[in-house]
Symmetry: D2
Subunit: 141 residues, 4 copies
């Protein structure tokens, strides 16, 4: 199983009046984690989108364990939990600098054509990418 | 079961380059839905926070069904799914103008002291609010 | 001179750890103010964009006077400061509930074709809208 | 004159349906630029805030020249334009990867006590920091 790691310098704009990172911003970090994973294995999400495909979130679940604060650096660990013809599930761990867990999460995605939002298998758009995902997936389908 | 409704005029800033509302913004709308629910039954979240209590999200799950776009008005339906001594689960439906479902979600919250993040029962801070939540909860604990 | 008014219920997500509204969010409110102004005089920005035109900000200036907080309602007052063939300047006042000024601002926009970002006069796309802007502009060009 | 440089990997969440970075996000980048400048000269904004001081924006002006897109890396160049007892003006250039200018900006800040929002001279809180700012300021007051 391949796990990608990305450091996030926490932005002042990401805090709220609780004095911690506003919870919706973790979803933005999860997306940065996915982008990093894709880059780490040699592919490019921006390029996919230029070809007319996007990969929206269909389902997302997140468990908040320990709040993060401005001035800290978050580490987002991202992996492919499972990958099948039309569905990819990513897994995430967001860590504090001392290695303690700030949050865990999963998100389910499908690939769709940008103009129609119709599902389209990654294996047809980019067979190498599809093969790589099958190879690194934690759970084989 | 009491269901609160709140209209959200979709902001340009909430869209992304897919041409639809960025998925993390639904969490902001869910929070607006909770605030509305609290107001609708005669209480006030800002006031609770002034007394030194906050209600962070511990767990959140969302299913994206049908993307929303700028120029539309979203309706957020919010209810108390369940309420116990230290845990409140809210349920949500986010609707298009034609009544079709854009997303469904749940979020789990606890009340904590702002300075220590230690859990504290709502029944001790505001017994009337606690009683009201037990009364309107969909599922009784 | 026509001045449009729009109420904004301040969102928890808009605060930062200073305990006040994060300063960049005022720009989002300014945009909501512009949208309201356009609606109030009977036109529609979303429609313009569907025709292939967008109106990006070229220059923006804002003076922050008195911070706003969660639980308050902001009022955004928006007007057309000046309007010429290729440039429209909007003026703004953002007010507290007691009428005191939270911020003042101006923004300069041009209309461009969405695909090329090339400037295009509003008078050619929608002559009525152009005439209305000339009529309500505070300063005549 | 000292100029700090910070690379910003553009986030998908920062785009809007124009297909470019939403204009308010440049203000977030400007803040990241200020933080970097402060770090580069050996000081720490988070530490200042822990001591009970914050540095809100009083006035901000930005000129948008050439839109930025997802997949690009922005460079934020930040310097101290001027510094006096109660006012600090920062200057900014935001650059595309080819060195062309995406935006230029300035922002005016004062230091205030967090609890009262009363102005307080940096020279009293941290004389070394104050001296450094006077030394690197582009325009001497």
């Amino acid at each position: 199983m391949f796990v990608s790691e990305k450091q996030i310098e926490i932005r002042y704009a990401e805090t709220d009046q609780m004095g911690v990172v506003y919870h919706a911003n973790y979803l933005v970090w999860m997306e940065i984690g996915r982008t990093q994973l894709v880059n780490d294995i040699g592919f490019n999400y921006a390029g996919l989108e230029e070809q007319g495909y996007i990969s929206p979130v269909l389902d997302l679940s997140i468990q908040y364990k320990k709040a993060m604060r401005y001035g800290q650096v978050a580490t987002v660990r991202t992996w492919v939990e499972s990958h099948s013809k039309l569905k990819t599930i990513y897994g995430y761990e967001i860590l504090h600098e001392d290695g303690s867990v700030a949050a865990t999460a999963t998100s389910l995605h499908t690939l769709v054509k940008k103009d129609s939002f119709r599902p389209y298998p990654l294996s047809k758009v980019d067979p190498e990418w599809d093969t790589k995902y099958l190879e690194i997936a934690k759970v084989n389908n």
